[in-house]
């Protein structure tokens, strides 16, 4: 069984939309902008539907399965209508703004957190659905852009922590900054080791580089996904990603039993929803990066290439499942231990990984 090779130069989503709306040929700038906007709208909504609607319900069910419970089962079939109830509940709550909050920063923080993650999805090759390629843009600096966009969230967390006028929020914000600095570097160094193989930061290039068969065992071809090529880097990346999205064992910025809810202690109603959404989006963005960089992007067996978006969704949900598993079963490390693991463990290992990869790539290729 072999994998269908991806189209060499797929048509991006805005272009598809533009062709459908305005036909081929040269487009005016407003036509391009409208098409891009519509494309972003579609992709954004797909992600929001996954994170905002399916996410919370799935999270309930998954966590319940891990902890020997049943979870929601009364509201609608399998408790599905809880999504509606949740939405009404969260949006219907009063928005309480603490006295002494630093207003513009306080209001902007949730927006920054949520939008930074959405921004990251712009360059993720999500595969095709009925032949339509769900990719908004494919710049040459794709991978760097994703990390840059995702790290903006830290700014949001710092703003929230500082602007809430609450000591717990402040501690949460400070912890978030310390954690993100400590784990961003190993994350990017590990990703850089993949770039050494691919020779490009372009996301489509990274995906394309993983389509060659690696070896064949008992008739099954293992593709050269970087998770198979360099499992050590994969593990490092997954761990660093856990810290990036703030899930156990690295959920110290929130640490409900220690600092209540960290930076989001003082947020309620719509602002809280934005934070909540932002967190989910970040987990999914983390999943998307892992899928793209290490798991061959949207590629997968059985399905035709025109439907490989399904594989992409399965991969990011697998990562989501993993974070929930970690959350249910792994204790939280202490803040000093977290920093220690980050600087003394992860950084050293990711550097070693980078150097080793560089040597191997230099000698062999």
């Amino acid at each position: 069984m072999s994998l269908a090779p991806l189209q060499a130069d797929p048509v991006l989503l805005p272009e598809t939309i533009a062709r459908a709306l305005f036909g081929g040929g040269d487009l005016a700038i407003w036509q391009e902008a409208l098409a891009a906007f519509l494309g972003a709208f579609v992709v954004g909504n797909i992600m929001l539907a996954m994170t905002g609607v399916a996410g919370p319900w799935a999270k309930r069910k998954i966590t319940a399965a891990f902890t020997d419970r049943i979870a929601v089962n009364r509201v609608g079939p399998a408790g599905l209508l809880i999504i509606v109830a949740d939405a009404v509940r969260l949006l219907g709550k009063e928005l309480i703004i603490p006295e002494g909050a630093d207003r513009p920063a306080y209001d902007l923080a949730p927006l920054v957190v949520a939008s930074s993650a959405l921004l990251g999805f712009a360059v993720i090759p999500m595969g095709q659905i009925f032949g339509v390629n769900l990719m908004l843009a494919d710049p040459e600096i794709g991978l760097a852009f994703v990390f840059a966009a995702a790290s903006i969230a830290t700014l949001g967390l710092a703003m929230a922590g500082y602007a809430s006028n609450n000591k717990y929020s402040l501690m949460g914000g400070l912890r978030a900054i310390a954690q993100n600095i400590a784990y961003e570097i190993p994350l990017i160094l590990t990703a850089a080791s993949v770039v050494l193989f691919t020779d490009t930061l372009q996301m489509s290039g990274i995906v394309a580089a993983q389509q060659e068969p690696l070896f064949t065992v008992a008739g099954i071809t293992i593709p050269s996904w970087f998770a198979f090529v360099n499992p050590f880097a994969f593990v490092l990346f997954v761990v660093a990603n856990l810290a990036e999205v703030g899930r156990n064992p690295f959920d110290v910025p929130e640490a409900p039993t220690e600092i209540i809810a960290g930076y989001q202690t003082e947020y309620s109603s719509v602002y809280f929803v934005l934070f909540y959404l932002g967190e989910f989006l970040h987990i999914f963005l983390g999943g998307a990066i892992i899928a793209t960089v290490f798991l061959g992007g949207p590629a997968g067996p059985f399905l035709p290439e025109s439907l490989n978006f399904v594989w992409f969704v399965i991969k990011i949900w697998a990562v989501f499942l993993f974070t929930q598993w970690a959350r249910s079963a792994v204790p939280r490390v202490r803040i000093d231990q977290l920093i220690e693991i980050g600087w003394k463990g992860m950084l050293v290992m990711s550097l070693a990984n980078l150097v080793l990869t560089a040597v191997i790539v230099g000698v062999m290729l």
């Binding site: 902890t67 501690m171 231990q337």
Partner: protein, 371 residues
């Protein structure tokens, strides 16, 4: 930085207020501010008669492991009024109290895991599941799931539920499954390296300091103090049964957790021996209560202080009589009160997460601290 941890905080196990002074993330000083759950329990006991009216109140002190509290009152009142308890009732008491101890320890393990893991953890749900099994058994025995009110002066209120075989089978099933369940906890918690990193060597209190703070129960035993009233000041049927006092030398959060988990095993040992005894007890000698006068009026100015080993430690009651059927002074010595006091010694210089973990490992029940 001064930080109020509580009274509304996810990890204060009820309503406790810790006035904390932080140096960075480290605790420079911590002072518990208690009293949010004060319900005048001592006063209420002083307003009620010995014979029937006081017994429901002890259930409200340590409400996670209620039955030992009932025994604390039963012991002091029976000593005061010179009441004998039939041997059969002593076995029933011993068995039910050990079940309650398992209940308390399960909740302690579960909430401790919450404190260290964060919410949504498997351990907490597992612990609650096992606690529910015990509650089912105690519901069969007493008719209640929480406020058991099972003890009476001179015995207990009911014999085992009929058919007895069914009850014994249920108990034995539970006891047989327990080692496997405990193994699960060890797999989930104690063998986890991150967990060990978090708990070993944190919240340390050495034996001498623990004695200074009057620590008792699992907290003292985890500091290597071999002290257990069930053995050292025998009551009930404990001195007839084969069991061990569990001690650990770690003095830290981990040791306190281990002591609780091992004590669950000891309690199971005690229960299975009690069940064997109860099963073979001749039918015509099943006295569940001795003859106790309708009204109890101990001599005026008799003073007595008696303690039992509750799930959290030494639970003592002082009673002074004034010749009426109500106590003139009723004073409760709560183990949680003393154990909570020792938090300041454990948390000094530790990180906030370890302060929370130490608090969890003390297993304080605010209902008992504040009374």
């Amino acid at each position: 930085m001064f930080l109020n941890i509580g009274p509304h905080h996810p990890a204060t196990h009820g309503v406790l207020h810790l006035k904390t002074v932080l140096d960075g993330e480290q605790v420079a000083d911590v002072e518990p501010d208690i009293g949010y759950l004060h319900r005048c329990e001592e006063q209420m006991c002083q307003n009620n008669n010995y014979r029937h009216q006081i017994m429901p109140y002890p259930d409200r002190w340590d409400y996670t492991a209620n039955l030992p509290n009932e025994w604390a009152y039963a012991r002091v009142a029976e000593d005061l009024n010179d009441i004998e308890v039939p041997e059969y009732a002593q076995i029933l008491r011993t068995m039910s109290v050990e079940f309650a101890r398992i209940m308390g320890h399960m909740l302690a393990v579960g909430t401790f895991a919450l404190d260290v893991y964060g919410d949504f953890t498997a351990t907490f749900m597992y612990a609650i599941r096992d606690r529910e099994l015990v509650q089912n058994i105690l519901e069969d025995l007493t008719g209640q799931r929480m406020m058991f009110n099972y003890f009476r002066l001179g015995g207990v209120v009911w014999d085992l539920p009929e058919p007895r075989e069914e009850f014994f089978e249920k108990v034995r099933d539970f006891i047989d499954d327990l080692p496997e369940a405990l193994e699960e906890y060890h797999d989930l918690i104690t063998t986890n390296e991150i967990f060990q990193k978090r708990t070993i060597g944190t919240g340390v209190i050495d034996a001498e300091t623990a004695k200074q703070y009057g620590c008792t129960g699992p907290v003292a035993r985890a500091s290597g103090i071999d002290y257990d009233l069930r053995r050292d000041d025998p009551y009930g049927y404990y001195d007839e049964l084969d069991w061990d006092v569990v001690t650990e030398d770690g003095c830290d959060n981990f040791a306190r957790l281990l002591v609780r988990m091992r004590e669950v095993e000891e309690s199971a040992k005690l229960i299975s021996q009690c069940v064997d005894l109860l099963e073979d007890w001749p039918e015509d000698e099943r006295d569940i209560q001795s003859n106790v006068p309708r009204t109890l009026k101990p001599d005026a100015d008799t003073e007595v202080y008696r303690a039992v080993e509750g799930a959290k430690g030494e639970l003592g009651i002082y009673v002074r009589s004034d010749g009426t059927d109500k106590p003139a002074r009723f004073k409760i010595r709560s183990p949680c009160f003393n154990n909570l006091h020792s938090l300041e010694a454990m948390a000094q210089g530790e990180y906030v997460p370890d302060l929370i973990a130490a608090l969890g490992s003390l297993d304080v029940i605010l209902g008992e601290v504040d009374r």
